[in-house]
């Protein structure tokens, strides 16, 4: 069952939705940049942005009246945006190493 957004929450619904994606991207950007440059400040900033993302997700969940099954979506967003960039980072590092190792031994 869905409980549609109230009219006074339209702006919150649209805006928090957009911010989830934007903060997700900035978090990923800072995280990757921090790892690449070995900068603790960027890593810290990344988690700061993630904290904003958490707020955006919660505002979104509130505006959308998430309940029951829909809480799963909140969890998926919170965990997905937190962990996926780490996963892609590890993949970036190791796919490149893998290819380079093969390249060097050829």
């Amino acid at each position: 069952m869905i409980d549609p957004v109230e009219m006074q929450d339209f702006f919150a619904a649209f805006f928090s939705g957009a911010l989830v994606i934007v903060f997700g991207a900035i978090y990923a950007l800072f995280l990757a940049w921090g790892r690449l440059r070995g900068s603790r400040n960027f890593i810290a900033a990344a988690y700061g942005v993630y904290a904003l993302l958490v707020i955006a997700v919660l505002v979104l969940a509130e505006a959308m009246h998430f309940d029951g099954f829909w809480n799963l979506i909140t969890v998926v967003m919170l965990v997905g945006y937190l962990l996926a960039p780490h996963g892609i980072w590890l993949l970036s590092r190791d796919t490149h190493n893998e290819a380079e190792a093969k390249f060097n031994s050829d």
Binding site: M1, I2, D3, P4, D94, T95, N97, E98, E100, A101
Partner: protein, 196 residues
């Protein structure tokens, strides 16, 4: 130098194949479940002969939105049609809407273009006065939309050379479409007065 199994080309080739195959399989299974539920004569998509009956759009507390409710007899243009005749009429109506390219101005079930109103609940729209004036107003509008238009946006529906029989077929299609259970779309709709 690390060489991890999960960063390996081979692993991802297999993953891509497995993910694609399993998602496709799930989609196919869901399709098998959905198609019978949206076939004509099902609970969600009524038989074409529903055009012989009154259709309402009523708030359902349990589902938390409006749903179509099929009521007592209310024959379209005074004719009660059997299943076969109703299907023929609705089919003709839908083919006319395709042939006249209605969907590139209007939306049907919310899909199409946004230059003209949605047709999902056109049959139930209060623009047609009440249930006593509705049929004749709709026919007149479809046959001569330019002199019967009713908005101040300056936009008019062009005359699509629709005959009276064609207009009746289109209305049959619209009436049938209004009986489809669309999970509450359009939301908060204010239907026509059918008590008159």
């Amino acid at each position: 130098m690390t060489s991890k199994w999960w960063a390996n080309e081979n692993f991802w080739r297999k993953s891509a194949v497995w993910v694609t195959a399993s998602m496709t399989l799930v989609l196919i299974l869901l399709t098998f479940d959905t198609i019978p539920k949206i076939s004509v004569g099902s609970e969600r998509v009524p038989a074409y002969s529903v055009i012989n009956q009154r259709i309402d759009y009523v708030f359902n507390k349990e589902r938390n939105f409006q749903v179509p409710v099929i009521g007592q007899a209310q024959p379209l243009f005074g004719n009660t049609l059997n299943e076969e005749e109703a299907e023929a009429l609705v089919t003709w109506g839908k083919k006319i809407t395709q042939g006249r390219n209605c969907m590139n101005c209007h939306t049907l079930l919310g899909n199409g273009a946004y230059y003209a109103p949605d047709l999902t609940k056109a049959w139930l729209d209060p623009a047609w006065g009440d249930s006593s004036t509705r049929e004749s107003m709709m026919v007149n509008f479809l046959m001569d939309p330019v002199s019967n238009y009713m908005n101040d946006s300056g936009r008019k529906m062009p005359n699509m050379n629709i005959s009276e029989q064609e207009a009746q077929a289109i209305i049959a299609f619209l009436k049938w479409m209004s009986s489809i259970d669309t999970n509450g779309f359009p939301y908060n709709f204010k239907p026509i007065d059918q008590e008159g």
